[in-house]
């Protein structure tokens, strides 16, 4: 029944589904879609949350189902798994650009960066690209954002937290 659909096709459809907190960022670019399983009996999407307590997860799940139904997939399922946990390095290059255009500093990338506190202390300002900034609070208005202050622009900004 679904033999003619490809994984790439499904991922293209899912680009339509955005992060409810950041409407310019698709779930695909956010990196929370970890598997697309196409079988004769239906399509199963595996997702993993950015933060375990992410309140937007249920909404994202139902948005994914809605898009699949719209494309004629009657038997669609979304499962949540921590097998391949989300890290901020899973955000695509396009996703990082989207964050910046939204005024949010993308998370610094690279392995083990969190052990190096300087990364949080000197986030890159999304306005001036400078690093003359300081960490105001590791906790922001949503679970995935921290609050920083740019000493050059003299304005606060938020960063998508590295996890």
């Amino acid at each position: 029944m679904h033999n003619s659909i490809t994984k790439e096709e499904v991922l293209t459809w899912l680009e339509e589904v955005k992060d409810p907190e950041i409407p310019v960022l698709s779930l695909v670019d956010l990196g929370v879609i970890t598997a697309v399983d196409i079988r004769p009996e239906g399509v199963t999407i595996t997702m993993t949350p950015t933060f375990v307590g992410c309140p937007a997860m249920d909404m994202m799940k139902s948005d994914v189902l809605e898009v699949l139904h719209k494309h004629g997939i009657t038997h669609a399922e979304v499962q949540v798994s921590f097998r391949e946990p989300w890290t901020s390095d899973k955000i695509s290059t396009r996703g990082r650009e989207a964050l910046k255009s939204f005024g949010l500093a993308p998370p610094p990338s690279g392995k083990n960066l969190f052990t190096d506190i300087d990364v949080l202390e000197h986030a890159t300002c999304p306005r001036c690209n400078g690093t003359n900034t300081e960490l105001k609070s590791p906790f922001g208005p949503t679970l995935c954002r921290s609050i920083h202050y740019c000493l050059d622009c003299r304005e606060a900004f938020e960063q998508f937290k590295p996890v």
Binding site: F51, V52, G53, C54, P55, S81, F82, R83, P85, W86, T87, F114, I117, L120, K136, S137, P138, F139, G140, P141, L143, I147, K161, V163
Partner: protein
């Protein structure tokens, strides 16, 4: 694998997170600074979310739905340590508890990343990463206020002295401790407590706060066996009030 031992372990970890998460949320709108208000609210959201993820693991093992587990048990069915249910008191006590608790939690989840029970090991990798923000927050404030003014130091010292015997209750051993260790599900409370003491000593050595000799302290146990203080039932009543009005409501 001893499934009863595994379930008991999951219950105690999840209950700790849920109950302290609820206490953290009581700071919403009450924090000494707006940033602290947001910090405690965010940590509450993390902890309650993490407790639900663990209740989901229990559900997969045949226990009830996460909401039913969270909202319909009585105090004597909860396995959280008494430490987590104590009232928030002043900000200094909440901060000390946050420091002592999260220092233990991040080590606990680090040990659990190597659990032979794969779903727990997978979740632990994720939770450990999130908890780094909690310990970062706790350590920053403890170091700052623990060396700031005479008042801040003496307040924190007083809270530390009050909190420590309760904090040791976090490491109350399970009846199945040896099974958990033998099956490589969890390395055990003893190893956890030793690592916790080391880390607490490292952070406090950067402050003017004094740690008493560990041997002089007596742990306040009982929570892991469902024996709680008078503070838990009122917390549960408040937490489940909305749920009990209509258990079938969709949120």
């Amino acid at each position: 694998m001893n499934e009863i031992a595994l379930k008991e372990l999951l219950y105690k970890i999840a209950d700790d997170q849920l109950i302290l998460g609820h206490r953290n949320s009581e700071w919403t709108g009450m924090g000494p600074l707006l940033e602290e208000d947001i910090a405690f609210s965010s940590m509450a959201q993390d902890k309650v979310g993490q407790s639900y993820a663990i209740y989901n693991l229990l559900h997969a093992l045949g226990e009830q739905e996460p909401d039913t587990i969270a909202f319909t048990r009585n105090a004597n069915q909860f396995h959280n340590s008494i430490f987590t249910e104590l009232p928030n008191s002043e900000y200094d006590f909440s901060l000390i508890r946050h420091f002592l608790y999260d220092t233990a939690e991040i080590i606990r989840f680090d040990l659990l990343t190597r659990s032979a029970y794969q779903p727990l090991a997978d979740l632990a990798v994720k939770v450990r990463a999130e908890l780094r923000y909690h310990t970062l927050h706790a350590n920053t404030w403890i170091k700052q206020l623990g060396s700031a003014t005479e008042e801040s130091i003496s307040r924190l010292q007083h809270s530390l002295d009050t909190a420590l015997p309760h904090a040791l209750g976090m490491f109350e051993e399970s009846l199945y401790e040896q099974d958990l260790i033998h099956d490589s599900i969890f390395a055990g409370e003893k190893i956890l407590m030793e690592r916790w003491k080391q880390q607490v000593e490292i952070i406090l050595s950067k402050t003017q706060l004094q740690l008493p000799d560990w041997d002089t302290l007596t742990a306040v146990n009982g929570g892991r066996k469902g024996q709680h203080s008078e503070h838990l039932q009122p917390l549960l009543d408040e937490m489940s009030e909305v749920f009990r009005i209509d258990p079938t409501a969709e949120w």
